[in-house]
Each structure stands twice: as structure tokens, then as C-alpha cells.
């Protein structure tokens, strides 16, 4: 079943076109990745889907409803939540209090919110830092906190904006199972990513955005073999990617 549908989405800023006629669909239970060079419009796409900017034209459907132009908090209440590429912790609060803000969406009682925050922290392996101030976290810790707060809202669809960027290979390797576990718990994931190898391993399908348009879609295995994609985006680094395993390729 289609959870998220983006139909003919256009976003323009003044005379500048950031997104042009983008159509995509994400099915329930999938992990879908959006890749593309800098300035391709990935972050703009996320902002439009999550209600942070209003599209110039086009429709966004979520769980069968037209949600175009709804503000972020309404979308969040419906089960569509995003994280930010540049993490935005509530710096003055502890990790637990940060997560509790997300829990509060579905639970009014502060005591319950603080208790439930513990379980969420465990899911992203942050349980040992629950009562530290968020400002004291490392980059990797902040990425996990971003993820935890979003999870705490009990979403159906999670938009992850470069949740792996800025992490070292060891940290990326630690984060991958976290993302897989989230999907396994029934949350659909749409992610924008720069760390391509991890994307190829994680995602069921990959969308390539170039110059504000969708250049290709397919399984990771298909994408790395698509000459147009290699030409437009992957360029010289493509050989490295072709060797990268994707879950589908492995399964096949």
C-alpha cells in the first residue's frame, strides 16, 4: 500500500526552480533513499514533504489523504515526522527531556513521557546518556538524539535527512542496524543520504535527484548500473559503488 505519494511537485524560490515535476511513491514498510549531488534539491524535497515549505505546485498525499500545505505539527500528529541534517537538539535540556518532547505528542502525562523516553533511547542506543545535557553529546550522539526524538512521536513514516553524514565509518556501521531495527518495528523510512555505500546496503529502492528532477529510480543494483545515473551523478566514483552490495543484490 502506498503510504506517501508525491505528485508533480514543483518548488520555486523567486525565479529559481529547486524542484521540477517530481513524482514519487513510498510503500508501507519500505526503506527508500533519495540521492543526488549537492544542490539537487534533496533538502528542498524534504522540507516540502514535511510541511516546512509550501510547494509552488503539485500534491502530497499521506496515508490516503491530501496533506499539501499542512504545517509540520499536523503532519507529525498524522504520523509523518522528519529529522534535520544539521541537528537541532534542545541544548538546555537533558537527553531524556529532549525525547520526552516527542513522546508528549501521544502521551499527556510528563511522568509517563519521561519513562517512555527510556525505551526510545534504548532503541537508538542512547540509554546510557539519558540524563546528560543534550549540549554535551558528540556529533554521533546528536544524530541519535534527532532519531530518538522523531521515533518518540510514534511515526508511520520517518524522513531522515542525512542521518549518517558526518559520522566516521565505525559510527556509520553502528547506525545501520539501528535504522534496520526501526523499519523492522513497522516504520517506513525515506532517507536523504550522502554516504552512498551505506545507502546501497540499507535501501530497497533508490531515487536519484539531479538538478531538481528525478533522473532515475530503481533498486540499488539497478541504479549503480544505470549509465544515465553514472553519467549525471556518480561520475568517476561509480566503480566503487558497483562493488557495493545491496540487500536485494545479496538476496538475489
Amino acid at each position: 500500500m502506498t503510504l506517501l505519494g508525491v505528485e508533480h511537485l514543483c518548488v520555486r524560490f523567486g525565479g529559481l526552480t529547486a524542484l521540477e515535476d517530481v513524482c514519487l511513491a513510498v510503500d508501507e514498510g519500505e526503506i527508500v533513499a533519495v540521492i543526488g549531488p549537492n544542490g539537487a534539491g534533496k533538502t528542498t524535497l524534504f522540507a516540502a514533504i514535511s510541511g516546512f515549505s509550501r510547494p509552488t505546485a503539485g500534491r502530497i498525499r499521506f496515508a490516503g489523504r491530501d496533506v499539501t500545505g499542512l504545517p509540520p505539527h499536523r503532519l507529525c500528529a498524522m504520523g509523518l515526522v522528519r529529522t534535520f541534517q544539521v541537528t537541532r537538539p534542545f541544548a538546555d535540556l537533558t537527553v531524556r527531556e529532549n525525547i520526552a518532547v516527542g513522546v508528549h505528542l501521544r502521551h499527556r502525562s510528563p511522568r509517563r513521557a519521561r519513562a517512555l523516553a527510556e525505551g526510545v533511547a534504548e532503541r537508538v542506543r542512547l540509554a546510557d546518556r539519558l540524563d546528560q545535557p543534550a549540549a554535551a553529546l558528540t556529533v554521533a550522539g546528536r544524530k541519535r538524539l534527532e532519531l530518538a526524538r522523531a521515533l518518540a512521536t510514534e511515526p508511520r513514516l520517518l524522513l531522515l535527512d542525512e542521518v549518517l553524514a558526518g559520522l566516521n565509518p565505525a559510527e556509520v556501521a553502528e547506525m545501520e542496524p539501528v535504522v534496520r531495527d526501526i523499519r523492522a518495528s513497522g516504520v517506513t523510512i525515506l532517507l536523504v543520504e550522502h554516504v552512498l555505500q551505506a545507502v546501497m546496503r540499507l535501501s530497497d529502492r533508490v531515487l536519484v535527484l539531479v538538478g531538481g528532477r528525478l533522473a532515475a529510480t530503481g533498486t540499488p543494483a539497478e541504479i549503480v548500473r544505470d549509465p544515465a545515473v553514472i553519467e549525471a551523478y556518480l561520475g568517476e566514483g561509480a566503480d566503487r559503488l558497483v562493488t557495493a552490495e545491496s540487500p536485494r543484490a545479496r538476496g538475489a
Binding site: 505539527h73 534542545f90 508528549h104 499527556r108
Partner: protein, 321 residues
Amino acid sequence: MNPAQGERAALVFLVLAAPLPWLVDSGTLVHFGIMVFQAATLGQAWNILGGMGGQFSFGHAAFFGAGAYTTAILQLRFGVDAWSGFFAAILAGAVVALVIGLASFRFGLRGSYFALVTLAFAEVLRILANTLEITGAGVGLLLPLAPGLERLQFADRRGYYLLALFLCAASLLVARAVAGSRLGARLVAVRENEEAASALGVDPFAVKMRAILLSGAMAASVGAFYVQYFLYLDPHIAFGPQVSVEALLGPIVGGPGTVAGPLAGAFLLQLLGEASRALAGGATGANLVVYGIVLILIVRFLPGGLAGLARARAERAGAGS
């Protein structure tokens, strides 16, 4: 001292302060107490919006003055009793808050812009009060002296002392309830990062509106108290910038966003104010010079206020053991 201990300490302080005028016979002490409780309540009102919610108002005089004029006008011109006037004043504060909140938060005004708009609203009200006949224009309003509990006037100043203390305690309990609730968590989230909060399902507009309504109503109750105590009101007293400054000074000094901060700040500032007035031979303005210096020093060296200092000490002590 952690925040919860601070709250308890503030409540204990109020309980202990209650019988004080009956133990020590001093008019100065009673007046000083009234000034502290009044400033602390006004500061607590500001604190809910500015300290917890991060929306810095420079115009809390708008609420204070609206409350003061509402009860004064109702009593003088419409023969309404002082108690009803008092509650009407609180309502008026909420109404003014509704207008200012709708106007500024609907349009997403933040930071300096919000501060300027609140300031401008207070000025508009001051000019209106200075012009209109019903407010007594520049001459102001004088309430007849008629002591009696049913008229909310006391022949014995200690009655006002208890009333002010009650208001202060009530504001403290309200703030504590807010801080411990979902609304409080959301307010702080909006203060820390509005976009991140909205991504997590928090409606910043709704949260800020609740805070300003509460804040406005609370500040208006202080205005109504002022009228009962001094029985005189003019546009400058009600809507002048010194009220707005007093509202934000206490919480900033005591610890913005903490429940005990406004009371601690108000106490320290009144003490400093009295001392500086005494040193300057009673010259008007001397206390405000000191307030200004304290404000600059606090922002520079102690952004968490007194509460931040207490917390840092507790952490050091905790680390040492």
C-alpha cells in the same frame, strides 16, 4: 541546589515570611515585603512567557496596566465591587494578551521583533490612557479610601502584605504546575528550537498563545493589587516602561525559566534598590541605575541568573563527592 529544591525553598520562604509582620513591628518591613511579592508575581508572569517560552516581552506593562485600569474604572465609574473588579482585571489581562498574542504570534514575530511589538502595544495603551476621559486622562484615577475586606482594602497594611504574599504564592504554584506539565515541556522546546519543536508535533502558535494568556492574566492581577494598595493610578504608573522593565528584571536576575527565579530576583533587586536609594540620599533613579548595572553584569557573567549559580555550585559539589 537543583530546580526542585529551589521551588521548595521558595515556598518555605513564603510560609515563613507570612507571620513576620506580626513578630516584628516595622512598617518598613511590611512595605518592603509587599514590594517584593508584587515584583515577584509580575516577574513570574513574565517568566512563564519569557523565561520558559523564550518570548521576551518588553511590554508587560500592557497587561499590568490593563488590569489596574479595569478594576479602577469598574469601581469608580460603574460601582462594581472590588472583588469582581479584581477578577475582571485578570480577565482584561487575558484579553489584552489574546490581542497581542494573536497579532504577533500569528505572524511569526520572534526575538527582537516580538520585544518591539510588545513595547509598542504598551505605549499605545499609555497614550490612550493619557487621552481618554474614562481613564481620567493624564490626571489619573483616585479611588476613595474605604477599608474593609469586602472592598479589598485594609486599614492595617499587614492585610495587603498577606494579599500580596498570597498572589505571589499562587503565581509560584501556577508556574510550578506549568513547568511540570506537557505545556511546560513544549514551551521550553519552542524556546530552544521552534522548528525542531514543530517537527515533533508541537504547535508553536498554540503553545505561545497559552503562555501569553496565562502571563497576561497573572500580570493583570498585580496591576489590580497595585490599585487596591495605592488607590491611585495614572497612565505612566500603569503603562510606563518601568513596569515592563521590572517584569523582566527579576526573572533574568533570579534565573529565567526557573520557578524560584523571579522571587529570588525580586528579593535581591528590592534589597539593592533600597540600599542604593539610601546611599544616594533618596534620589529618584538611583535604584534604576543599580538595576541597569546588575542587568548588564548578569547577562555578561551569569546568564542563568542566581539559579544558574546555585545549579553550578551543586554540580561542582556533586562532582567533588
